[in-house]
Amino acid sequence: MAPGAVVFYLLASLCVVSAVMVITRRSPVHAALFLVLAFFCVAGIYILLSAEFLAAVQVLVYAGGIMVLFLFVIMLVPLETARTPPPVRHVAVSLLLALLLAASLVSYFWNAPQITPAEGVPLASGLGNIETVGMELYQRYILPFEVASVLLLVAMIGAVVLARKQT
């Protein structure tokens, strides 16, 4: 097996285990820390797939920004103690729905037609990846890029208005 594949399987299994820990830990602080671990594993997989720019963005935005927001809110909102576990019927129905979705998607993957590579901008790796992503973002995708910045502005104003103390 190629070394890249070995690293992928290691990272993927670590990521799945930490994702399971995220949704099973009682304490939200532990869940947030396992979420950081999962995000780092995903960033490593991005590097293996020659998406270095996205790996950097993943670490900066997810493991940096979003996790700080989560931890701030966990500190602002007191932890609830002595919670009752969810009823068994609820968990059973959720698991059934999830398994149904998984089964239908796996059967779709199984019968999916073979994809032929399309004409497109070839991938570069290393620093060249950042350059090509930047060129694409600022040339062909300039309008969506600007719309995304407006979306971020709207989200920021909305968050400030929602979390502000009512007078």
């Binding site: 190629a2 992928f8 993927a12 990521c15 799945v16 994702a19 995220v22 949704i23 869940a31 947030a32 979420l35 995903v42 997989i45 991005y46 797939l49 998406a51 996205l54 963005v57 993943q58 935005v61 997810y62 979003i66 927001l69 989560f70 809110v73 966990i74 909102v77 609830e80 919670r83 969810p86 959720s94 698991l95 999830a98 998984a102 998607l105 796996v106 993957f109 994809i115 590579p117 399309a118 497109g120 901008v121 991938l123 090509t132 992503v133 694409e136 973002l137 995708y141 995304a148 979306l151 709207v154 989200a155 920021m156 909305g158 968050a159 400030v160 929602l162 979390a163 103390k165 009512q166």
Partner: protein, 100 residues
Amino acid sequence: MIPTSHLLVFSLALFIIGMIGVLTRRNAIIILMGIELMLNSANINFIAFSSQLSDLAGQIFSVFTIVVAAGEVAVGLAIIIALYRNKDTINVDEINIMKG
């Protein structure tokens, strides 16, 4: 070269875990974390197909997904803070004022 089907199975596993978290947990913060996991699995799919087709468009779309995820988390956490201020709880089972 990692087979694309293995990447798809991995992202499916991540999506299912996030979905189970969203469906079973009651803490609104953990529910947001589950949504983050699901968005990440969509990103992995984008990158996997971008790598298989050697087309950069998948990576560009992942950037936009990350932008949406960042905005969603900011607004979601602000809603959680407003909820806690008004209802003194973030347990989604106790928040049922829209139940009619």
